[in-house]
Amino acid sequence: MTLEFTASEMMSVTAARALTNDMTCFVGIGLPSEAANLARLTHAPEVTLIYESGTLQTKPEILPLSIGDGELCESALTTVSVPEMFRYWLQGGHVSVGFLGTAQIDRYANLNTTLIGDYRHPKVRLPGGGGAPEIATNAHEVFITVKHSKRTFVEAVDFITTVGFGRDGKARDDVPHIGRGPTVVITDLCILKPDPTSKELVVTSLHPNVSREAVIEATGWEIRFADSLETTPSPSAHELDVLRRLKARTQAHHAGQS
């Protein structure tokens, strides 16, 4: 039997699988939050989720729309102040994985969530850095999940809001007390990982029914593929079921009021 699933679902399920029970994950809102909670509701019930709003070890039943929805606090082990969150928990070295989304990502996994174009005269103004600049350097490693498109995957980001490996792949070399940086990027087409030496992002696994050409077409630089290119396992029926119910609960909740 073949299950039907969308590319978005493929992305969320694959991103979720990157998390394991023993991780302490600082979760960005949006796609990372969806993936992290899917992980918690499927194979990693003990994964520790932290949101920058101060909620430690939270277990929301519905996905928060904002980073500080009441659901996060009510289901948390405890809630600390935002300065404590960034100082003690993130900078203090207690976060194993920072899970981030982005608006633009480049060859060296640098992230741009600030603007498209020139800083003083932007073509498009984006929300800005938020927690990402320090999540990316203080978490032990970083997972990124983002939809794959030529607009998003660019040769070099217009603005490095959040460092991956810098303009030359060497930005983390010899920097004291810095995390390993991005170790995996999960898109709706494939999985990318930094080359161990050059730190350039390389496709290591294609999602089912995705061609190399589709990835090449959706990437703004001459993308490389790993020699031993894998095919990402499809979502299971259970994963899809949990994801769909999570999204349905979430939509019903956020549509209420007003």
């Binding site: 709003s53 928060p64 904002s66 102040s81 969150m85 600030t114 850095g129 320090e134």
Partner: protein, 272 residues
């Protein structure tokens, strides 16, 4: 000791044109009622500080109250852009707004340092980010023990802090519960503070290590029931996520925004 005032009197007395004002509440307890009163009183040339500008600052900017914005994440959470902020920055409508941009970690540390009475905050931050290139406030210091280079930002010491809390007792002590954000820090860091509360009670019902602002650390308290809507107050009401989603359409269009502002802010009285 905190003074009990109407919201109208508190805003009138303690916020002046040109002030640096920090209205905080990290998603939770955002002081919308106070923001609307600032719009009604047509305060001008404010420098606004806030980690997450949110709808409240979109409204203040669209209403023409703001000259400069210091922030670290300027969006409608989970929805998209703040269109009034973008219109002001990109098109100068209704007036141009200068922005000074940080990361959350730096602003959280800057509030902490402000509360601690220090002139600077030190953090391991901004490594290889372009933000220091566009924000002259970001410098660095060298650790005299290890030689490590660390980021330094000026502490935040606003003229006025505005926050919303669950409740105050009749002596003016204030309880904040749940996602407490940087509310304690901003009140302690500011020269003056206005706290709106859901209710005034005989007994705070605070647990032993609760986040309580003593009366002598607060300037003015105004009762403003539902004063955080459309954000939320833990134990009182939930976040109106549907309004946050609806705001996207309202704020996209200048005329529609102005109509909304007229109907929902300008033609309303103060809450108390």
């Amino acid at each position: 000791m905190a003074e009990f005032l109407s919201l109208q009197a508190a805003v009138s007395r303690y916020i002046d044109d040109g002030d640096t004002v920090a209205m905080e509440g990290f998603t939770h307890l955002i002081p919308f009622a106070a923001g609307h009163e600032i719009i009604r009183q047509a305060k001008r040339d404010l420098t606004l500080i806030r980690m997450t500008p949110d709808l409240i600052y979109d409204q203040l900017i669209g209403a023409g109250c703001v000259r400069q914005l210091i922030f670290s994440w300027g969006g409608n959470p989970g929805v998209g852009s703040l269109h009034r902020l973008r219109d002001a920055v990109e098109q100068g409508w209704p007036n141009s707004v200068e922005i000074l941009e940080h990361s959350h970690a730096a602003m959280a540390c800057a509030y902490e340092a402000g509360a601690a009475g220090l002139p600077l905050a030190v953090l391991r931050g901004y490594v290889s980010s372009d933000l220091p290139k566009v924000n002259p406030q970001i410098k660095c210091i060298e650790c005299p023990f290890t030689g490590e280079q660390l980021a330094a930002v000026p502490s935040i010491r606003p003229d006025v802090a505005v926050v919303h809390a669950q409740r105050a007792d009749r002596q003016g002590n204030v309880l904040i519960e749940g996602i407490v954000g940087v509310q304690k820090e901003v009140v302690l860091a500011a020269k003056r503070s206005i706290v709106t509360v859901e209710e005034i009670v005989d007994d705070l019902g605070a647990s032993v290590n609760a986040c309580v602002l003593p009366s002598w650390a607060v300037t003015a308290i105004a009762q403003a029931p539902q004063g955080a809507k459309p954000s939320y107050a833990l134990g009182y009401y939930e976040r109106d996520n549907a309004f946050y989603q609806a705001w996207d359409e309202i704020a996209r269009d200048r005329e529609r925004f102005q109509a909304w502002l007229n109907d929902h802010v300008l033609e309303q009285g103060a809450v108390s």
